[in-house]
Assembly symmetry: C2
């Protein structure tokens, strides 16, 4: 069980936002008893959903003063919904703010960060919001971390959570992270939302900077289908309710643990990628630069041919080598080495003469497949987690008219 | 029937290069009676197969003197085969040169351009070459264009050919084009080879330049799976055997017809892409530049989510819009317009209120799907032909251990 960090109250309710009626919650709320230092990382897509635009504005306005909570709904993405969508987003925050005030919690709409996932293009049904907010309030403080993440799920196969207890000089702090799935399921679904909550007290600039670095090292190092959605959002809230201030010399430790939490969530996202049966752990080393290494890792991880080969448990060095060769990076082809699950497949411009099929039959049946690429003797390095490409992926994403 | 241009003799034979024994030819030869002006465009992959490296060297050495022919085998790609592979490539050319000399045709090994397609990494079986060359010689001049292309096929579902008769001031010239498939089938297959032969007499510089432009407008505007192989090669030979010299003012006409021939072949490659059931005709206009338009066209055409939607006959504007938005191009999201099969799906930042499902049910059952993207009012434009992503693609590329 993942413990809820101190000073956060969680809530969940069923607003029936989804087109198919499900006995599952689809509305979630995080409220901090005091303003929390907040960091946010958002989709780089030019088409940003209304909640992304509103969150960015609220974060900027809050600055070091912090925010009071996060409001999440699944089933309706509120993306490509124009002015009406912006209005509905603000309206949902006002409804929740008013209800919180009735409970004696002085939270303004602009103290909240909204996040939505679900069908693109449809307007949110505000009547459903109005009906659901009271039961959301009833559950406030009675919901645990798993209850929170279950209300965010759309087509996720399992809830994605990670937590840590961290001993600092001033005492113990808690971190709890949740995420919902990396899929854009038919028709027009979007997409990834993740939160990390901690009761540590951290300097705002330090928290924002470490959150960005941790996201870059984890969530920006995964590939399911290479598509970025209109709604991808990551939030990190640190409310200080533990009373433990993170000293300057303890910041690297907090960053390490934060990166672990986000890394676990990112791994679970790939593992639960649409139709995924494998997770390739791609590690590129020996490149001229980290940028070169990253290009090679991404070209391999995004290659449909490499992905289908992994699904087919095929030690197809040819596709891996061909992907590296077209990554747009200059390197010596004779220096390239490819090792899959510890078995060296390719070296000196040729396949090695090991018996790949015999050596790899068992390792390729596993879910986690380490793929090590050495490009030369340069200092550049990069990692990427990538799913395979299966029949189930095609079924999930094409099953429209049947 | 596609006519063989004058002064070219075609040949085909079965060397049994393929691992599975097939009653089908896998060795092909084109010989020109006189030196032919030659143009070549090759894979940009860092891993270039031996025949690609040898062809590039022979073309450079020949310069304006021209070449005498093209030698193609399927079943063995001779890629990632090191020094031995280079030696075998030269040896195959020597065998054919010696056999041609016995027939009284004074063709040196360096007058020939080699091309191979098939399994990567395996060395060519030179005994099979030695056995097959006599029957190749027996068929010289007795093989038609379809016989030539059939000997190049690997997993192609149908032979890909296109031809034209062109009236010029000096008389009639013929063009004949052939291509083999755009798939990299398991395990480790590679890939695309295309030839265009003409009996027109053309200035070498003009021919080379127009060939490059025609390839750029056609073969460089298709996407099956985004993977470029180690062996992709396109050749254009103009031997002048018609006795018709192309006048300077007729060059644009020849280029137009050459582009049509290559365009037909490129279309057939996408239509016969692995598991393809649809051909998206993506046309991006109104971009700030052609480069911007191309980036958007490629991001849409390569998107797994768009490809699976087309396979599922799903007018999924959300995935198309999301792909445009992550193409790395700056444009006004509110200006984007998306029209599929003549039905406008998206405008002013929102889906239009047409009944997509009713309007598009029939059009989306067809193979050819026009997809028009307007990005704004700029002058930039780009076209791309892209296949869909089907269950058959996954089956073809993952069916290794079964």
């Amino acid at each position: 069980m993942i413990k809820t960090p101190q000073g956060f109250r969680l809530a969940a309710a069923n607003a029936d936002f989804r087109s198919k009626k499900l006995e599952r919650n689809d509305l979630a709320l995080v409220v901090s008893d005091v303003p929390a230092t907040a960091a946010g990382v958002f989709t780089t897509n030019l088409f940003k959903a209304a909640p992304v635009l509103v969150s960015q504005a609220h974060l900027e306005a809050a600055g070091a003063d912090g925010v009071r909570g996060i409001l999440i709904n699944s089933g309706q993405a509120n993306a490509c919904t124009g002015e009406q969508g912006m209005g509905n987003c603000h309206l949902s925050l006002s409804m929740v703010s008013a209800a919180l005030k009735e409970k004696g919690l002085d939270v303004e709409p602009e103290d909240l960060l909204p996040a939505s996932t679900g069908v693109i293009g449809a307007q949110m049904d505000m009547d459903k919001w109005a009906t659901a907010v009271p039961s959301l309030m009833d559950s406030l403080g009675k919901t645990d971390v798993e209850g929170l993440v279950r209300a965010m799920m759309t087509t996720d196969a399992f809830p994605k959570m990670a937590g840590r207890e961290l001993q600092l000089k001033g005492g113990t702090v808690l971190l709890a992270g949740v995420a919902k799935g990396a899929g854009m399921i038919c028709p027009n679904m979007a997409t990834m939302i993740s939160l990390v909550l901690t009761d540590a007290a951290v300097d705002a600039d330090a928290w924002t900077a470490m959150f960005r670095r941790a996201v870059d090292a984890t969530f920006n190092r995964v590939s399911v289908d290479g598509d970025t959605s209109t709604n991808d959002s990551l939030y990190g809230l640190a409310n200080g309710a533990s009373g433990v201030r993170v000293e300057a010399d303890e910041l690297p430790l907090l960053e390490k643990v934060l990166t672990e939490v986000l890394g676990e969530l990112a791994y679970l996202l790939v593992k639960d990628g649409e139709g995924a049966t494998k997770v390739m752990h791609i590690h590129v080393t020996g490149a001229a630069s980290d940028e070169d290494a990253e290009k090679v890792a991404r070209t391999i991880g995004h290659s449909q041919l490499v992905k289908t080969a992994m699904f087919g448990r095929d030690p197809n060095w040819g596709r891996i080598v061909a992907a590296a060769g077209r990554a747009g990076v200059d390197f010596d082809p004779m220096a390239l080495r490819v090792t899959l699950c510890g078995v060296e497949l390719f070296r000196d411009g040729r396949p090695t003469d090991l018996d790949f099929d015999a050596l790899l039959e068992e390792p390729l049946d596993k879910v986690d497949l380490p793929l090590d690429i050495v490009m030369g003797d340069g200092p550049g390095e990069s990692r990427l987690l990538a799913s395979d490409l299966s029949h189930a992926y095609v079924t999930l994403n094409s099953d429209y008219r049947s």
